[in-house]
Subunit: 198 residues, 2 copies
Amino acid sequence: MEKLKALQRLEESLNKLPSVGRKSAERLAFAMLDMDESDLQEFADSVSKLKESIHICPICGNLTEEDVCSICKDESRDKSTIMVVSTPKDILALEKGEDYRGLYHVLGGTISLTKGKGIEDLKIPELLERIQSGNVKEVIIATNPTVDGETTALYLAKIIEPLNITVTRIAYGLPMGGNLDYTDSLTISKAIEGRRKI
Amino acid sequence: MEKLKALQRLEESLNKLPSVGRKSAERLAFAMLDMDESDLQEFADSVSKLKESIHICPICGNLTEEDVCSICKDESRDKSTIMVVSTPKDILALEKGEDYRGLYHVLGGTISLTKGKGIEDLKIPELLERIQSGNVKEVIIATNPTVDGETTALYLAKIIEPLNITVTRIAYGLPMGGNLDYTDSLTISKAIEGRRKI
């Protein structure tokens, strides 16, 4: 049986999404055949117009649909603290907690030997400019606790500390609801190292 | 942080797909932000035009982009055998094997008490008409080996057998590459029951 062209075309597009393999793409495409025509058109339109309104905040590098992102625009936020993250998606995760009231700075990745990403590919000059021109007292480095994230954090600490700014790193430890039994030994040793008085 | 409207809209559409939850929808939407604009437009277009060209084959109920599906149209196929399946997707799976050279008939579901689907919702009259008007010798029932699939198979056998047609059921047993250790007892007992001389 020849495959239907319209289905195949959709499967190829779906297949470009991360963790959607050939089999999942086929399953999703068939499911979409069962969707209402109006839902399909809404889906198509939301894909087509995705990037139309979204761009990068010129101050922090976050995604926004306005001139400046909602965080940079928020007068109530603490402008003396900048949290450095790799991607805009990290901001979304950090904002879910609602504890942090400072600003952000998106690097646009991390230093990565494997991906061939160097210092020059990251928004480090912009970060230094923000630190020097503003009233920044603390820079919290919130790159992921991976080899690349750690390398980036160490590099940033090395170049920011001479500017007389406190540089901190988010804590390592057991995830809440986690289980000692299933936690890798590196995390456990970091959790012991970072212990606090209760 | 307020969520970006364009992202949220896309996430809502993605969330309508089977097994794509809130978290996956968010992950996929962000990944799509990194896609080329041309890939995005191709994606949108493939979604938008999905159903435009696809319709149901008037003979067997398979999906097709022509008047009649490629299987019904294929003169080389054995018109004396009809394999009865629940959905067009089942045909795709069966055709991958390339062993079967007969025709198909799509019921459009199975009899299901839980889903409130009765005999009247299935394309059974169309099947009987095909059997009676053509030169059909065998009807192979290939509904899934589930409660609903079995109920449907038994019902079909009961109404087709009086027409002097051989009604068969696809075999139950261990899946190839399967592992006895991980196979449920019902499958094992069916595999033993269906044993053949080697």
